[in-house]
């Protein structure tokens, strides 16, 4: 029995000792490998950086030692990819040329066929950083990968590489909601920016409805003037979602020449279109919209009134004065004047050293008080302290007007 126990203890001890030894050897091997990496990196990095900072056409190989081990080749690739994250312009192009010449692009393209999905995804991401046109076709093919993460990384890489051949499959991906997250593809296209506009415009008519909505959103967020024609046409589309998105997009683009179209959209039969048109008119800041926005403060829908009020507030002195005179939706109007600190500012201006500002403040307060027909009392308050004036004017404006009856 004792002999068996001794044998068991010996075996367990030997196993533990073997395991410890394996861990120690492995750690030592890793540390040694890292130390060699550091030493080789210190040797290779200055040569790579010298190549990147140079203006000559000499390839990277001309700056590096004649014979490179596999380790050296990996380190050179890592150095180039790290630099690719921090530079742009000519230096970025030199990095792409170096990676192509170094064989890194071809290596990453080969890895796209790996059975391991993480390797495919990482290689797609590296190809995006490498920005080589050679990678476009393999990345487009990868957009059909069964793994969503791989597809998204391929899409991102194509977005970084850009160029017509890269962007076209991304635009097509907007149309395939079963395989793609439209939001993520839209974000990629927005990051591509102006270069994506022509492809989006060309493909728009061929896209299904949900992709058209995304396309309008992307075009609006890219803020391309070239998209205005399409957006204006879409304001007449039978689909209210497309009309609303087009109105929103025109607001994001911000061309004041589109004000007449948006003013027309303020009378749309669907309230989301009217609300978006009001918001867009506030964004583009064309004072010609003031009478229509003032009229839109009568709208039955809260969102239309809220957006119209906000738009008027942003339309300078004339817009703010329109808010004072409004005999309807007064709560909305007063909340806009309060949010914009317009009342406070006017009260503060009553004590301004600048006579013009003082006069403008008095005129403003006169109009506020006149609109509420309690001018004398408020004027008295104006002569008292500022806080009391603010409160008095707030109360005056909150008094329901005749047009407010029956409205929320």
């Amino acid at each position: 029995m004792r002999a068996i126990m001794i044998q068991i203890v010996t075996v367990v001890g030997a196993l533990l000792a073997g395991l410890t030894l394996a861990i120690v050897i492995n750690k030592a091997r890793r540390e040694m490998s890292e130390a060699i990496d550091r030493r080789r990196r210190a040797l290779l990095e200055p040569a790579v950086f010298e190549y990147l900072g140079a203006a000559s056409s000499k390839p990277l190989s001309g700056y590096l030692p004649k014979r490179l081990s596999r380790r050296d080749r990996r380190l050179v690739e890592e150095i180039l990819l790290a630099a690719a994250r921090i530079v742009k312009g000519d230096t970025r192009d030199r990095i792409t040329a170096a990676l192509e010449g170094h064989g890194s692009v071809q290596g990453a393209i080969r890895s796209l066929r790996s059975r391991r999905r993480f390797k495919r995804a990482d290689s797609a991401e590296d190809l995006g950083l490498m920005r080589s046109r050679e990678a476009v076709e393999p990345l487009v093919a990868l957009m059909n990968d069964p793994e969503p993460e791989v597809r998204i990384r391929a899409a991102r890489a194509l977005g970084i590489i850009r160029g017509t051949t890269s962007i076209r499959p991304l635009v097509r991906a907007l149309a395939d909601p079963s395989r793609w997250s439209a939001i993520r593809v839209a974000e990629i296209l927005i990051n591509v920016g102006a270069e994506a506009v022509d492809e989006l415009l060309a493909a728009y008519e061929t896209l299904p409805r949900h992709a058209r909505i995304s396309a309008l959103d992307v075009l609006g967020r890219i803020r391309s003037l070239r998209a205005i024609g399409l957006m204006k046409r879409c304001l007449e589309d039978p689909d209210p979602d497309l009309r609303a998105r087009a109105a929103h997009g025109l607001g994001l683009i911000g061309d004041s020449g589109t004000a007449p179209d948006l003013i027309k959209a303020l009378a749309d039969r669907e309230w989301p279109v009217r609300a978006m048109a009001a918001k867009a008119l506030g964004r583009i800041g064309n004072p010609a919209a003031i009478p229509s926005l003032r009229e839109a403060m009568k709208d039955r829908q809260w969102w239309v009134r809220a957006n119209s009020g906000e738009a008027l507030r942003g339309l300078g002195q004339a817009g703010r004065e329109a808010l004072i005179d409004i005999p309807f939706a007064r709560h909305m109007a007063v909340s806009q004047l309060e949010e914009g600190r317009i009342i406070e500012q006017s009260v503060s201006d009553l004590t301004s050293a600048d006579p013009e500002r003082r006069a403008a403040a008095i005129r403003f307060i006169d109009r506020v008080t006149a609109s509420a027909r309690v001018d004398e009392r408020t004027r008295q308050a104006a002569e008292a302290t500022q806080e009391s004036v603010r409160r008095a004017l707030g109360d005056v404006l909150k008094t329901p007007g005749p047009g407010d009856r029956g409205r929320p």
Binding site: E50, G53, A83, I86, V87, K88, G89, D90
Partner: protein, 122 residues
């Protein structure tokens, strides 16, 4: 007098350092805000090129301290950062930075801007 590069990213420090060294400038590196302040006080560099994201004292604090110290007040400062928000740019320039560049950056543009700042100081 060297150009002081303060950046938490070693690749940025080494890359910009090599770029400047290859263009005839002497370079000193600092990996955090406190090291940058010490180096600025000791070396009196021709230019401090710093990121706003730094361990310890961040770039804004470093600018603030350097600009409020009579010894370092006149050192030209340039920010090189991945932070591209308008408020960060305005804040850094408001605190006294001469220039603000966003990463990723063009090396030619960086060199041109550095030359301009250094020529202005002559």
């Amino acid at each position: 007098m060297p150009i002081l590069i303060a950046d938490s990213d070693a690749v940025v420090r080494r890359f910009v350092g090599a770029l400047l060294a290859n263009n005839g400038y002497r370079v000193h590196e600092a990996a955090d805000g406190d090291a940058a302040l010490r180096a600025a006080a000791e070396l009196r560099p021709r230019l401090v090129l710093l990121d706003v994201v730094l361990p310890g004292k961040d770039g804004f604090e470093v600018i603030n301290v350097l600009k409020s110290d009579p010894v370092t007040r006149d050192l030209p400062l340039m920010v090189l950062s991945v932070r591209d928000r308008e408020e960060d740019v305005v804040k850094a320039l408001g605190l006294g930075a001469e220039d603000y560049m966003i990463k990723p950056f063009s090396t030619r543009e960086l060199l041109a801007r550095i030359r301009k700042i250094l020529n202005r100081g002559r």
